[in-house]
Symmetry: D2
Subunit: 343 residues, 4 copies
């Protein structure tokens, strides 16, 4: 196949990241971009040499010279755009989450299936060399059969309250990455979730019905047990680590740092703080996920993060929230309600 | 005060450790030792220069030249020996646990209180320089108000099944140290416990009604949340680590290694395995706890690990077991039954 | 200033690296490329969207639409090309070394000075975040006045013998980077060099008159002392570290690794090997040095690696070689011979 | 053999350390101690249960119930005491150095050889688990044939000037340990030494003719090359590390720390300073060297640090000093002068 021709929907921060990745990959070319704010679209077009700025996503989806679209717009538009793109016969890369409503997610996935187009979800952390290394240790049997999993996932500081109100809350905007990571690493599904959570960072977060700190227990189908450690604020910055104990050994990952320098003075032996947030920490994984999507199209192979991978973490978020509300473990099999509701 | 005169009850492995510590502390002298196996007692007496071997613990408790006793005999004798020692007016160092029956523990503590003698429990890990450093970081405010606690506590391999049968099970012979550590580090009590556990190491352990792997969630009175990660087997050896996230930062500890050498070859960058079991790993803390007990007697100050510190971890074990059995969180305040019972 | 228009001379591996950097920097554009192998030039032109392939460097230097050239051709062409580019009024980025003959270097630098164009030498390691952090620690006084410097610089394996024959030898093709690093970090000049070196990796290297392993002592003007540890082969890969002891503390840097994962099994606690060679290890610094050169042109500021920075390391190489040949320390001030000669 | 009966000559700090080691080793007993300050001797006797305080070393050497002596008195007494002890038929453990005069050393070693008694020198660092691990990596071929050696050996702060005046200077009181380490690790002799040294810590040290900072190059018989990095002052404390590059890999050791805790705050990721001086850092190795001496006597095997191991480091110190004075490399084979003389 020749170069994959891409259309980009959404010219915000993540649209910029993906445009840059496409510009650096000789296997693809971005032929058009659109955004509800035309200025943003024009700026990215100029920066990354994208020749056309479309007025609407509709116009872009109707363009016959586009093979695939990158959905980088706001979350509430994802489900509909997936349906429209699928109906237009375009392959789809969509930022997570698809939606917070399982019924809407299911409609999107149905459309994708009927259209037989490819769909890849933006769980970029799967492409991080640390987590990929853990996955490999599990898959190759290097550490034997997994028994216990730790996912440490802490942000440098809480987002604005306005974001917390609209995002669906911590379990949906933050833990969702960790739910995906848990499934990805272990290669199996979670059956039951127990959430211990609270408001420890900022009472304002509690006032809008959310939590900011949690320890979430996951029971996997095999009997293995995991925990996710989440906090909206870590004074020392972005903290993203994983540890797995298996029958033959363990693997754990550390953070990434701007340098490998150690300074020793009369006060302490110290190093600089870790890379502070996801744009720096996961720069490599953003590039790799886009390359992976482009390759899946060119080589007509399955994408590495599928539609169902976009659905299950949302169901896990619903279960985690319900466990928190009810104070007891919740089985994933009972998640029939289709929307997360915060008290 | 002149040298503290000690009598040692029990000449097994832990009796040997404490005898050695006493021999190296100029502030105390071991004047007598006893054991149900007289040969063992005579051997230790010879190794550590203890002048007298008593026939029975009774004879030892009746000796007017003894200020304090070290109870290093089997667990089922602890509660009665504490009562007898207290009635004989001796200060008491007792290996953990006091008992698995809360009513028996309470009778022991009553006797100690009435006799106004000192009692110190053998939670030696409190004296480990790593955990003491974490405690200091919390107490001095170095990491701010604690939010999340991790205790990783894995053994190199499972004990014999016979031991599992008689020990009360993993929550009582292994986790009990971690329950104590959780209270010690956080400086507050646990209010609710949720246990996710299973048999992943050896089915034979499950056959006698015990588990070998667990992730235990602790909710503290302040709202802070902790987890204890336990496994009866870690292929790489003894694994004892702690991590606390606070409002101003975090602290975590690593394992101790026989050396600080790193070997780099064409295969990997590697180091030798950590110190393999508690006798090596906690050698320092065993010495420090005994010194602390001797100092408490000489200076007439409270012991650093009291009777109630011996009681609460047992109640926590009962709660953890019940949570495991019932599959839901258990409040500590509901622990009225006085004995742990395994199904 | 608008975009800097660049011409690239040499389409080999390093020409490719710099073409990519230019393509990612919106402040510059590569307008032409040339190579003695036209196919190579055309391939890079196609990959990086360079519109024109020039037949000769002369044609490129005569192009009025070119502001600056990147000299990425073989070392023996550097000195002449610098002279020609300067006379053509082009700013110059030149890969190291300029030449092995001090007289030829001086003629190049004279031409640059007369033409008042900018010259930057390709000592990319100065832009590595580790070494930049060490430089900062020294400049800001974080570790006080420097006393002792270690530069560890080991390659994964020796180059082909043909390369060793033509490169000028280890002191000129490998240590030259470390000589630059020594001056860069310490911010002062070396006055005397003592070389202890030998052939330990491959006798064939000795047969062509070179060494493959060395410990080179540097005495700085301030009295500080440094050593450079060089070996053509390290079984575990590319090893690039620095350590400085100062009056208030020390700083040392570690290698860079493909991931931050630690695997613990019954055999060892290990991690994967470091990034294996300079294209991976110094990827970031290659991009930053090019951005720095482009910025110097746009903002009309001095380049961060000047012509004299290209001359002195060659003089140091001559001194190091002479010290090795004579078995005694050599003062830099005595380097009047203009060419390195190997016995 | 039954318990080895030891006499201790010298009740200072190091006499105390060895007395403690003997007290903890059931294979030996200290039966007498002497010191020119009788109070010191009586104090140690009381602390460690040594039954007899001798008036003079003569009295002690004449005691028929003593198998071996530990010479812990001041350096200027070592050579004569070795001769006297050998003539009295006692095995000898002697603190380093034997003397600074090669002729006097030779007379001592002659006496030992004629008397066929055992002599062990107090190079305790050989028994440190880190350096022993490096030795093992070399001996077993784990890292192949050694090529380059680094010994980093820095003190927390300079000794009093009075000590510097009488000690023979840095090469004799500090580097002597590193000279021994170099020979011990590499298992071969140094043939040539080049010293680059200066006064960077305190001008008063220079005023009495000594240096306080040095980088010393060692050429081994095999062609391998080493450096010793010495400084009288490291702001962050006692720094004792080793690194060896071999044909199959490398090994390096780190410092020892009071704990393995890492604190992360908004300022840095840090740990506490390393163990601050040799009494803490090498506590283990002091105990092991004494156990090794006692075992050599009981089992009638050679000591692990012999008389010649005491002589050669002094010759190396003389060569290092001469290299410093003359500004050029010095061959060990030319060290015929028997005394170190500082200008």
């Amino acid at each position: 196949m020749k170069q994959v021709r891409l259309g980009i929907i959404g010219a915000g921060r993540i649209g910029n990241v993906h445009s840059q990745s496409v510009a650096n990959d000789p296997a693809a070319v971005a032929v058009a971009i659109t955004d509800i704010n035309r200025d943003s679209a024009e700026q990215l077009a100029s920066m990354h040499g994208i020749s056309r700025v479309a007025d609407t996503s509709r116009e872009l989806l109707d363009s016959p010279d586009i093979d695939a679209v990158l959905i980088c717009s706001s979350t509430n538009t994802h489900a509909d755009l997936i349906v429209q793109a699928a109906q237009a016969g375009k392959h789809i890369f969509c930022e997570k989450p698809i939606d917070y409503d399982l019924a809407r997610i299911d409609r999107s996935l149905d459309a994708v299936e009927r259209a037989r187009v490819k769909l890849q979800l933006g769980f970029n952390r799967r492409f991080d060399s640390n987590f990929a290394r853990v996955k490999k240790a599990i898959e190759t049997g290097e550490i034997g059969r997994p028994r216990l999993l730790h996912i440490i996932s802490r942000d440098p500081g809480p987002p604005p309250i306005s974001y917390v109100k609209s995002s669906g809350g911590m379990f949906f905007d933050m833990t969702i990455h960790d739910f995906d990571m848990a499934r990805f690493l272990m290669g199996e599904e979670v059956e039951e979730i127990y959430t211990a959570a609270g408001v420890m960072v900022d009472p304002a977060i509690g006032n809008v019905g959310d939590v900011d700190t949690a320890m979430i227990t996951l029971r996997f189908a095999s009997g293995a047990i995991g925990i996710i450690d989440n906090c909206r604020e870590a004074a020392y910055g972005y903290d993203q680590r994983v540890e797995v104990l298996g029958s033959k050994g363990s693997i754990h990952t550390g953070n990434r740092y701007p340098n490998q320098a150690i300074v020793s003075t009369g006060a302490s032996v110290r190093r600089d703080l870790p890379l502070n947030f996801f744009m720096d920490r996961y720069a490599e994984s953003f590039a790799l996920e886009m390359r992976s999507f482009i390759r899946a199209i060119r080589e007509d192979t399955p994408t590495l993060v599928t539609g169902i991978d976009g659905r299950i973490p949302v169901a896990m978020g619903i279960a985690a929230l319900r466990s928190h509300q009810e104070g007891k473990p919740v089985k994933l099999s009972t998640i029939s309600s289709t929307t997360a509701t915060r008290s």
